[in-house]
Symmetry: C2
Subunit: 444 residues, 2 copies
């Protein structure tokens, strides 16, 4: 049976497998691993099977919607899906049924994707550790906040999943779980029907098994109506020629923060890319970058508090300690400090727009491998891109001696998804690592 989305799509197209087969394959995986991994808030088997039958019938009538026709997908539980509850980790929202799909959900539905159920999010897409475990080592965190999406894709419980990021909630869990992710440019995708955290940094995005799969999913979620930069034909993005690519390794902040094992892995990636003919040069971030982590925290705390304050006051028990502490921090920030920070955010975005000279930045995707499950890990390698809105693609490059995936990310210019996918496809080809099956699914 196919393990990647694009292979599954091709097999469906050729009539070798049906949507029914794909759904059964995923449900079998869920039956096998879910009890230990806990990636799902719920799986709606009856709905998924009915959709699979409907989409299989469509194929028999000669109708194929495209590469997502009949592909089983997980949906992070902050995205509204018609007739399913959107709990976002809240006890009080456990039965809050959505009357409409979020726009990005509606688009994948129209493209023929089959939603299997809702995947676990940390509460309100923040930092409180979720019940989900890392399928590579069950005492480790899968990362957050898109914990269930990452774990589910890693276990083959679905071929791709909706994810979202305000700090490091896409790239970090994807990397900890050994899957590929894309966080697009801020503004690329509409936010309606998605529970907000900090609206100026909330990004919908996707997780999948490889760069091509992520590109297919992102393309189906984007529309020319959303923003001035029309989406390209990302699903068919060409693999960049190594000689055409100049990657900038951002020095400073990330070198200081990275674990030695992550730094060494990144060095090996650079060496192999150079051998392949890619130019990789050291670059310094703009001076304003020095404040990015502290400033990101201010924006996240203030904007999250703006949304959550009335609920926090009425339902303090419906907030875990990490999100509560974030909100309380946001409530203490002075307006002048927030205003200064928003100015910094604009300036840093503009600085990145001006001073590129590279195709993409090459940055470790996380500080190191997944830490233990008492936290969701450090978003420091991701929040700068949430803050500046630059698009990121991450993919695994190694596994550590004790079997945990490590990943790097490419960070492109704003609205530069097309070139970013080409660059990522090329890098994946030379330095991407087939992580295989997690032990919990029977792999080693």
């Amino acid at each position: 049976m196919p393990s990647t989305l694009h292979a599954a799509a091709e097999a469906v197209r050729q009539g070798q497998v049906t949507p029914i087969d794909l759904v059964e394959q995923c449900l079998e995986r869920i039956d096998r691993c879910e009890e230990r991994v806990r990636a799902w808030v719920f799986v709606d088997k009856e709905y998924a099977r009915a959709e699979a039958k409907r989409l299989t019938d469509e194929l028999r009538q000669g109708q194929r919607r495209g590469p997502l026709h009949g592909i089983p997908i997980g949906v992070k539980d902050i995205f509204d899906v018609f007739d399913w509850p959107t709990a976002a980790g809240s006890r009080l929202w456990a039965h809050s049924v959505a009357r409409r799909d979020a726009t990005v959900v509606k688009r994948l539905r129209q493209a023929g994707a089959i939603f299997l159920g809702k995947t676990v999010t940390t509460q309100y897409a923040s930092f409180d550790p979720p019940p989900t475990r890392n399928p590579w080592k069950l005492d480790r965190t899968p990362g957050g906040s898109s914990s269930g999406s990452a774990a589910a894709v890693a276990c083959g419980m679905c071929f791709g999943a909706f994810a979202s990021q305000t700090g490091g909630s896409i790239t970090r869990p994807a990397s900890f779980c050994g899957v590929t992710s894309v966080k697009p440019t801020y503004g690329r995708l509409p936010l309606d029907g998605i529970v907000p955290l900090a609206e100026s940094m909330d990004h919908p995005g996707v997780m999948a098994r490889c760069v091509r799969d992520a590109a297919i999913l992102l393309q189906a979620m984007a529309d020319a109506a959303d923003c001035e930069a029309a989406p390209g034909d990302w699903a068919h993005a060409p693999v960049a020629a190594p000689g055409d690519l100049v990657l900038g390794r951002l020095r400073g902040l990330f070198d200081d923060l990275a674990d030695p094992v992550m730094l060494a892995a990144t060095d090996r990636v650079v060496t192999r890319l150079r051998s392949a003919g890619v130019t990789v040069k050291d670059v310094a971030p703009p001076p304003a970058f020095a404040e990015v982590l502290a400033r990101h925290r201010v924006v996240m705390a203030v904007e999250a508090a703006r949304f959550h304050e009335p609920r926090l006051r009425r339902h303090p028990d419906d907030y875990g300690p990490c999100i509560r502490s974030l909100l309380e921090e946001g409530l203490r920030v002075s307006a002048t400090e927030y205003a200064r920070t928003k100015e910094h955010q604009r300036e840093l975005r503009a600085a990145f727009d001006r001073s590129r000279g590279v195709s993409a930045f090459l940055v470790p995707a996380t500080r190191g491998p997944a830490p233990d499950a008492a936290t969701t890990g450090d978003p420091a390698f991701n929040s700068p891109w949430s803050y500046t809105g630059l698009p990121c693609v991450s993919f695994p490059v190694e596994r550590t001696a004790d079997g945990l995936p490590l990943a790097v990310q490419l960070v492109g210019p704003a609205w530069g998804e097309e070139g970013l996918f080409s660059a990522a496809l090329m890098c994946e080809k030379f330095v991407g690592f087939d992580v295989g099956e997690p032990p919990v699914c029977g792999g080693q």
Copy 2:
């Protein structure tokens, strides 16, 4: 204590009563009558009292938001109110908590209104009889679908309420319960955050104790951003001079359908208005009007089925017999029939735009007084205005021998709310009827 919204607003302005007093007055009414009337899905006393305190404190600090500052309001349970469930009469939506206010709700909140709770709607704003009873006679229907809003305003449980109409769901219950209503021009108010029934005819609107109160509420719900016709200063609309007014009594359809008691009451209204100096002439509706009731039913059935079909298939038990029959009817309509009907709808709207020559139409608000509680009454006198989108104001003019209110409505030209309020204020002055207190509240 004040009984109208504008009197309450003036008393608040002058410091004679506080928002706390107004909320307590309404809660006392609810305690006294709710058990028999059943107007509310829930009343959130704790929230209402906290809001009353906050808005009273604002006044003490010299801040007054305007005429709605501290005014207790009911919200029909198809409008999203932040942190309250929107059930719309559905069992499966009973705990569907709204993450945001509907735009019209948000505007009244900003204007200082205090929401007491959610008022009963028929299921999905359709025709299945609700638990609510008519406060004038408990074996009669309050009308529907805005049943709870009408009954609550009639009982003085709130000073005004959100309502909505797709057939006759504002004007009919308001009239059966002896309160005033306004259904604005289609497109005047935004529909986001409101459970749809048939989107091309769904109108948010209000119920209140008199025309001035309704105008104040509608003005606070409208914004120049919503449509090309900017709202006027409706709260201060002048009372039209009788000699400036030409009313058109629409003959034909409505004469044929009205109960004799309603026809006689309307005749008396015409006589009294003529005595006051108003010109009232008989006018014929455009020829296309002959099909309006049947065509309205087609649009409602098809558009409701378009929204509800997927839920109806998955949750047939969550649909009462009337709404289910409407949806099944909608599913049987052919596309060509619907397309022809949409053309008819456009043509009839255009015909009314061209051929006025009167300030407003004068039409009975309902067929007659409230029938027994086994139905919600006949929307035939209202659905033509939902279909064509023309604005309507209704107000009580009599009580029948057995004590049931009767009302008439003025129907204005599209976007003609300003003149319509002036005309309605004038008519209310000459033929409006103070219905007094319903028996269930201790009146006679």
